[in-house]
Amino acid sequence: MKVALVTGASKGIGKACALRLARDGYTVVVNYSSSDEAAQQTLDQIKAEGGDGMLYKANVADLSQVKVMVREVFKAYGRIDVLVNNAGIVRDEYLLMMNPETLDKCFDLNVKGYFYCAQQVAVKMYKQKSGVIINMSSVSSKFALPGQAVYSATKGAVNSLTQTLAKELGGFGIRVNAVAPGFIATEMIEAIPEETRKGYLEKIPLKRFGSADEVANIVSALASDQFAYVTGQVFVLDGGLSL
């Protein structure tokens, strides 16, 4: 049995990753922080497709909750093979309008949360001498969009921590990579006004938004032994937006 822990797996990209990893044969821990019903739907779908897993409600920005979660998962399954650090938030604000609370919230979840989960899971993976950590970054880490200074800074931090952790943990059989999606057709994109969406599409050479399943495809590949020699990389999936 192989076990994957996906943070922020109740909706969107996290949900797609959880479903895909379950189809790949992983027992999947569906982490979420508030959306009980949506998380349950993710797990129900995993089970309806013949997979297995569990729900775990925890705020990954809180180290004490992360410690308990990882310990409980390990107690339940005895191992953690894949961590998908996905839970995150977007709060777009122009610099002069930026609120310190926004800065704290974004860095607490998008950066500290990734560190906390990686740290606690790495201790378990270290014992196994194997494991894969996949950090969800964003094309915003490489392609500047006005108003996204905070979000892009957090994702730039994710890219840097991915590279450093890859060096720190590589000798112990643990690979660390990141996936940097562009505009992905999730609820977040659907909430954007039609005109703004059209403007985004014009900037994308492939003239469409990506799908959460396409992000999950890369996560699946990175988790597999097909990518056993790949670590410390950031894979951009943006339809050419950042070119």
Partner: protein, 81 residues
């Protein structure tokens, strides 16, 4: 688990897993000093061993707690369930 037993298990671990000379390693010997010469990579070994053997998390713990077998054992005693 008595403190002496914790120390004894730690010493065995340092000798068998990290290759530390048992004749040199006393309970109060500085682990990261010149004498033993462990480095930061070894700290991951120690954290993993303590986690799996005693069920105590030492991630993010201040360096002073890793100074010697005595200090690690004291931390374990203070934090085990």
């Amino acid at each position: 688990m008595a403190n002496e037993e914790v120390k004894s298990k730690l010493k065995s671990f340092f000798m068998s897993d990290l290759g530390v000379d048992g004749d040199v390693l006393q309970y109060d010997t500085a682990l990261f000093g010149d004498e033993i010469g462990l480095d930061s990579v070894d700290s991951l070994e120690i954290i993993s061993f303590v986690d799996s053997t005693f069920g105590v998390s030492m991630t993010g713990v201040a360096k002073e707690n890793f100074q010697s077998i005595d200090t690690i054992a004291a931390y374990i005693e203070a934090h085990k369930a």
